[in-house]
Symmetry: C2
Subunit: 380 residues, 2 copies
């Protein structure tokens, strides 16, 4: 019997038909007025999405490339930086910073939790020399949201500190307006809420961060922000750009801007809430104490291996993600980021119920679906 | 009236329909057995293409990213390296090497020429401490081929030297078998003879190069060859891979392997020869004294601005490339690399004749076409 595979992983996420169509086209040359016009239009749309008039750069790399670019362009060797390390991607900030000889204050946090404000104030009080705070806005591995508004306030109180935000699973999910919030460096990647295949990353930076570019003494070539900023201003790139992803991005940004950021953020909020409430109604426990609207992490019931559960769910028709590192086999993660609407979530919730039933967990079928329906109906 | 635009630039090059189809598909997740299988199959096909059983890594970057990876993974700060600097991309080797604090012996060569063997022997005799020779197999900016077989011999005679080859416009054009030739590091990019959009790069390395990985003291994170080699062996990548380009690469490698490397190399040789002979028959002068089979650089006649000429040619239906830096306005470059056959070249040669006529250069129409026809007919 036909069984479709529906992708509900927190990246890559399904591509909208407009994007698929744009990607499945003959290539065009990038050193042409035609491409320059698309590129400038894409940058302008990125600026609209971020409500900013500052530089937004595009790199041909995965999101990790843009994370690396943040560390090597805006800091000097031996700069002290604070890493909010609350998951797989917090660890990545730490690894990158250490690799390039930044002095890392590693604020390690139990996976599924966010930072403690008092503790943060204490750390910052102890180390006034902090030159940067590295954080995930949404930590994908634990589906946790970190309050970046508070971090921005703290960062501003320091003598000379940049707030560096990995927005890989928050840009396109939340209203992330870096100027208003007080972010200094913001990165994101294509295969998340930008609804594209992986291979394109985005880096935004503030005026304050721009000042740092001159004094950075970490060698860089491929990820050279100054060089790219100079080129991209005029609609070109220092090295060959990911042409077809940029053309696809033009389409996905049209979708994002047509929906409007407030509406888009509300949709994600409602889908996330419905998913969380449905899971709770089924007696399941959420992974995160500060859940993100991009994906929901859920513990499988005692005695049920999450990876076994995911296999059954896949067989029914849904691919969700598992847990990483010590969470492997204990949790599953359902995305609601990007090209999803209410009824997509109803569908996956129904599938989760059926997989739970199939694996022998005693539930009343429809309990989660009903909870989600109630929430969605209020918002129709 | 309908005027199609045909792409004859030395990258990007036209995508075969099979690749376009593969790119215009819904995304699949990369942490799946399905993707792992494709990825391992692609790596195996890359190995077949290169006639090797050694590691072939894939990065999510433009070709420049893989060039950077070559410099930062296989060398130590202050290592002396010789750069064969005969064009835009030779300059890039130099810039990258210097950026990461390698000591560069800059063997600068007039654009359009290749290195002098005696001069090379002299340089190498003077600097026995050379730890690497960086070269373009095919220097795209000047459409020049550098003899890498001779360089491999010279490299082997040195105490501890790696031959690092930018094969960005030679892999998929020539039979580039790095083990046989004696290359130590070979890089290529997706948007050239691999017939894909830009955004994927390839790096191959020898056993001798592998030894160097341990002692390299240049910091690296995104382009970490050791980390990638470990992951890619099992069909995964350290960071999110360019999923749809890898799926496209699977298709283009099928095309390459189905044609067979000797046949493919012969096709490129004949197309290149026909193009060069046609240009000469029209009284035009070739840019390169050692022309590459990937593209042909041609001087426009005295008094005719090449960029004006290219505009006319574009209006007729063909996009060719211009000259870079001091060659701007003086030359045009026609690609015959990738998804081109004999009749494609006949078409562009006819177009070039018509554009020459249109701009006021006195030729007998059909002279170049006839020359090419004769050469092609011999090879049918």
């Amino acid at each position: 019997m036909l069984r479709k595979e529906r992708l509900f992983t927190p990246g890559p996420v399904p591509l909208p038909p407009q994007v698929i169509k744009a990607l499945g086209q003959q290539i065009i040359h990038h050193r042409t007025p035609e491409f320059t016009q698309i590129f400038l239009s894409v940058r302008e749309k990125l600026q609209k999405m971020l409500k900013t008039d500052k530089d937004v750069l595009i790199f041909s790399s995965s999101g990790t490339g843009a994370m690396e670019a943040s560390a090597i362009n805006f800091f000097k060797k031996n700069d002290t930086v604070l890493v909010i390390n609350a998951g797989k991607f917090g660890q990545r900030w730490k690894e990158i910073a250490e690799k390039y000889e930044l002095k890392v204050i590693d604020y390690e946090i139990e996976w599924g939790k966010t930072y403690d404000k008092d503790m943060l104030i204490e750390i910052v009080g102890k180390f006034p020399e902090i030159k940067g705070i590295f954080v995930q806005h949404s930590e994908t591995s634990t589906t946790t949201l970190h309050d970046i508004n508070f971090l921005a306030k703290i960062s501003k109180k320091l003598d000379d500190c940049l707030l560096v935000v990995d927005g890989i699973t928050s840009v396109g999910v939340y209203e992330v307006y870096p100027d208003e919030i007080g972010i200094d460096v913001l990165v994101t990647g294509s295969q998340k809420a930008l609804m594209l295949p992986p291979g394109l990353s985005v880096l935004w930076f503030s005026e304050k961060a721009k000042e740092r570019l001159k004094s950075s003494n970490i060698p860089k070539y491929y990820f050279d922000v100054q060089k790219e900023a100079k080129k991209q201003k005029d609609g070109q790139t220092a090295y060959t750009p990911p042409i077809n992803l940029i053309i696809g991005l033009n389409e996905s940004l049209n979708l994002i801007l047509d929906e409007g950021l407030p509406e888009l953020a509300k949709r994600h909020e409602i889908m996330a809430k419905a998913t969380r409430e449905a899971m709770k109604a089924l007696g399941l426990t959420l992974l995160s104490e500060s859940p993100s609207n991009s994906a929901t992490g859920v513990y499988t019931p005692e005695g049920i291996n999450a990876d076994e559960f995911r296999k059954i769910l896949l067989n029914i028709g849904f691919r969700v993600a598992g847990g990483q590192d010590h969470l492997k086999g204990k949790i599953f993660r359902v995305a609601h980021m990007g090209y999803f609407d209410f009824m997509d979530m109803i569908q996956v919730i129904a599938g989760i119920e059926m997989a739970l039933d199939k694996i022998g967990y005693n539930i009343e079928l429809g309990t989660g679906v009903k909870k989600a329906q109630e929430i969605f109906i209020k918002n129709l």
